[in-house]
């Protein structure tokens, strides 16, 4: 298997994502963490693009990068106080967290890599947005009208709930 452009792009993305994820959870300053998160989200979107899921990538950028990260930044600024930067970790706690996470990582990776998935048949070519739309609005099998409706209720409830909690009184 030769080194293709795709692979190079993927490798760059992968290194970028992994590095940003790790930095996002280790950096001591929370605003930087949010920034690294943004990088991760961008990287993820890149992966979606690479997988030819442009729509998904776009959604990712719009909602996550565009919406949520901004929310984070605002709320970080809103809640920042003196103690935030001088975050000091107790070693034992960090160690326990690290240990559990590493154990989980090892187990999951081991099982994932050992598993023989079905033979992959990667198909190039962009997903037509109309197909997405058709599925989204279909009530047949592999149609998503019902989840779509339910998630709308969820969003409504979350809006009501979020406002309820966050508003002044």
């Amino acid at each position: 298997m030769g080194i293709t452009l795709e692979l190079i792009v993927f490798l760059i993305l992968a290194v970028f994502i992994v590095a940003s994820s790790i930095l996002a959870v280790t950096t001591k300053r929370i605003l930087r963490a949010a920034t690294y998160l943004l990088f991760v989200l961008f990287g993820t979107a890149g992966i979606y693009f690479q997988l030819n899921y442009s729509f998904l990538g776009a959604v990712q950028l719009l909602i996550y990068a565009g919406g949520i990260t901004v929310l984070y930044v605002f709320s970080i600024l809103l809640t920042s106080s003196q103690g935030d930067r001088a975050e000091k970790l107790k070693n034992s706690k960090m160690f326990a967290g690290l240990l559990t996470a590493l154990a989980g990582l090892v187990i999951c990776l081991f099982l994932t890599l050992k598993n023989t998935f079905l033979p992959s048949h990667f198909e190039h070519g962009e997903l037509p947005v109309s197909a997405i739309g058709m599925s989204m609005m279909s009530g047949e099998k592999y149609g998503y009208i019902l989840p779509f409706e339910v998630i709308s209720v969820l969003l409504l409830a979350c809006i009501i709930g979020g406002i309820l909690i966050a508003r002044k009184r």
Binding site: K93, A96, G97, T100, A101, A103, G104, I107, L111
Partner: protein
């Protein structure tokens, strides 16, 4: 003979009436009810005896065994059941007479003796109860009925010994009496269980093939039953309760602890005699050995006691020993050939009941007069209490075996039987008979002659007892004088056939001589004010004297065993174990639960990160568990 049921029912009714309504009655009424009922019972008993013996012998030359009543009371299994009924045969009829006579005398006597006592009604109620149970015991149609009434007499004895329930000694004595006999009854019960299982019946006449196939179990059963008998009849080493039982009112001692209940063991052996002879002669001989040793032991203790009731108690033990020996030395059921002892034993039972009751009632008069049991408070009473004196003397002569008093005849028969069994036994028993004569006359002189406690008598002049008390004395004295001439063998013998008593002159002369010598020694030692010989002897054999006075420390051994061993080494540790090990174990479980609850408290630290760490850890562990196991 359906009327015999009255013999049981009347005392029971009287018990119920007196027990339930007694509190509302006057003393006189209660006493009268009890006495009248007993009078009727006595009449019924005499009539029964008359009726029974007058009916004559059956074709086989024996008096028939009658069962006017017998009904299933408690079924045990298909074949086994406990019956209630009335059985009449020569010995039970004889016992009916003895019991109702003595009981009647005691009822009459108690009028005077218990006059003005608190609980007079209760006393008569208990007496009725006792009489009922004792009569029930002797007319039992089966061994279980006998056991049942056996327990009842035990309880009535308990109640009567503890009559003065505010007195510490009385409480202790009643308890002791009950528990010791109860312990012996355990043997009886187990014996009955063995018997019932192997004989397939509780009646006294089991099927022979059942017995034959039972092998060694029947002797075992009989031996265990004898333990019960030994307890009730105060055989060594189960005798310890009897001397203490003298804490009860004296008439009670006369009735229960001298004449009737204590001979229940003898009666039991006699009742089972055919089985003993047929299947367990070696056990029967053990009965004899135990009886002989007890007789000797009790006689030697009696020689040094100073409490007159205790002397009489030990004398009773000793005399019961004689009866047991009489039964035990039998080697066959034929009175002409080694079976004489049966008749002799029963005869002695009969005569002894009369003269021992007389002795006790006499002692009661004396105690009534001087308000003490101790010989030191007496002496020289012959001047004050002539009737008591004479009747007491008669009884003493009877028990010592001086003709023509009844004791002579019966004791002589026993000695004859002993000599027939083995000369050693004969001489041993003769020697004990001598001891009997000695201590009885020591007692007699100590009370009526000897050193008089003038100080006390001056302060409180002893007087003769009232008529209600002396009449029974005189009656019993008359019986004692005459009973020896009853042709006892005509009525009762080991095989039921008629047996004519004939005195073995050699034995008779020997025994009389021995008795006379013993009385002479006693006279020499105790007749006068000053008793140098006795004091000297007591000094010389100080250790022995003290040991005998303390009844050879048997009581102390029991005391040790019960308090130090049973209570301190068994019960207390068990109770401790229960509270601190078994119970604590349950508490320990609870403690463990609580402790582990405290221990895992830190899991719920309140830190959400730790929560999720546990969450993930749980997931991973489950994955590993599923994949690795």
């Amino acid at each position: 003979m359906e009327y015999t049921i009255l013999i049981l029912l009347l005392p029971f009714l009287s018990f119920l009436v007196l027990g339930l309504a007694g509190m509302k009655m006057s003393n006189r009424l209660a006493g009268t009810i009890g006495t009248v009922v007993l009078g009727i019972v006595a009449v019924a008993s005499y009539y029964t005896a008359f009726d029974y013996f007058a009916a004559g012998r059956g074709a086989d030359g024996t008096f028939p065994t009658l069962m006017p009543y017998n009904a299933v009371w408690l079924p045990i299994s298909e074949s086994l059941h406990i019956d209630m009924g009335i059985l009449l045969d020569p010995i039970s009829v004889m016992m009916l007479v003895v019991i109702s006579t003595v009981s009647l005398m005691v009822h009459i006597y108690s009028f005077g003796y218990m006059k003005g006592e608190r609980g007079f009604q209760r006393y008569y109620a208990f007496l009725s109860l006792f009489t009922m149970s004792m009569l029930g015991l002797v007319v039992a149609t089966n061994i279980f009925q006998m056991y049942l009434f056996w327990e009842l007499v035990g309880v009535s004895s308990y109640l009567l010994i503890g009559f003065y329930y505010t007195k510490k000694e009385a409480i202790a004595a009643s308890k002791k009496a009950f528990i010791v006999t109860r312990f012996a009854d355990l043997g009886f019960l187990v014996g009955i269980l063995f018997y019932g299982y192997y004989a397939g019946t509780f009646t006294f006449t089991p099927q022979l093939q059942m017995l034959a196939s039972a092998g060694a179990m029947i002797p075992l059963a009989l031996g265990l039953m004898f333990i019960g008998g030994a307890g009730k009849s105060a055989m060594f080493p189960l005798h310890i309760w009897l001397p203490d039982a003298m804490e009860g009112p004296t008439p009670v001692s006369a009735l229960i602890h001298a004449a009737t209940m204590v001979v229940a063991g003898v009666y039991l052996v006699a009742r089972m005699f055919p089985l003993f002879i047929g299947y367990a002669p070696e056990v029967l001989h053990w009965v004899a050995y135990v009886g002989a040793f007890t007789a000797f032991y009790a006689a030697s203790v009696a020689c040094v006691q100073s409490d007159i009731k205790r002397v009489l108690a030990f004398s009773t033990i000793s005399q019961i020993g004689f009866m047991m020996v009489g039964l035990g030395v039998c080697t066959s059921a034929d009175p002409h050939d080694g079976g004489l002892g049966y008749m002799a034993g029963m005869f002695h039972l009969f005569t002894h009941a009369m003269f021992k009751a007389l002795l006790f009632l006499g002692a009661g008069c004396i105690i009534h007069a001087v308000h003490s049991n101790e010989m030191s408070a007496m002496g020289g009473l012959r001047k004050y209490m002539p009737v008591t004196h004479i009747t007491f003397l008669i009884a003493c002569l009877a028990i010592s075996g001086i003709p023509p008093f009844s004791g002579f005849f019966s004791k002589d028969e026993i000695l004859t039987a002993c000599f027939a069994f083995s000369p050693v036994m004969g001489w041993v028993m003769s020697f004990i008979a001598a001891m009997t004569a000695f201590y009885m006359f020591r007692l007699y002189y100590g009370i009526f002659w000897g050193r008089e406690n003038k100080e006390l008598h001056a302060r409180h002049v002893p007087h003769e007892a009232p008529l209600s008390m002396t009449v029974p004395l005189i009656f019993l004295a008359l019986v004692t004088c005459g009973a020896g001439f009853i042709p006892f063998g005509e009525f009762i013998s080991s095989n039921g056939q008629s047996y004519t008593i004939h005195l073995d002159s050699q034995v008779a002369i020997t025994s009389v001589c021995i008795a006379v010598v013993a009385i002479a020694v006693a006279t020499w030692m105790y007749l006068r004010e000053r008793q140098p010989v006795a004091d000297q002897l007591a000094k010389t054999f100080k250790g022995l004297h003290r040991a005998a006075y303390h009844r050879f420390y048997i009581d102390d051994i029991y005391q040790f065993v019960t308090h130090k061993v049973i209570f301190a080494c068994v019960s207390t540790p068990i109770a401790w174990f229960d509270r601190h090990v078994v119970d604590q174990f349950m508490n320990f479980l609870a403690w463990c639960t609580n402790a582990s609850s405290e221990e895992i408290r830190s899991w719920q630290s309140g830190n959400v990160q730790q929560y999720t760490r546990v969450f993930l850890g749980g997931v991973l562990v489950l994955v590993l568990v599923l994949l690795l196991i």
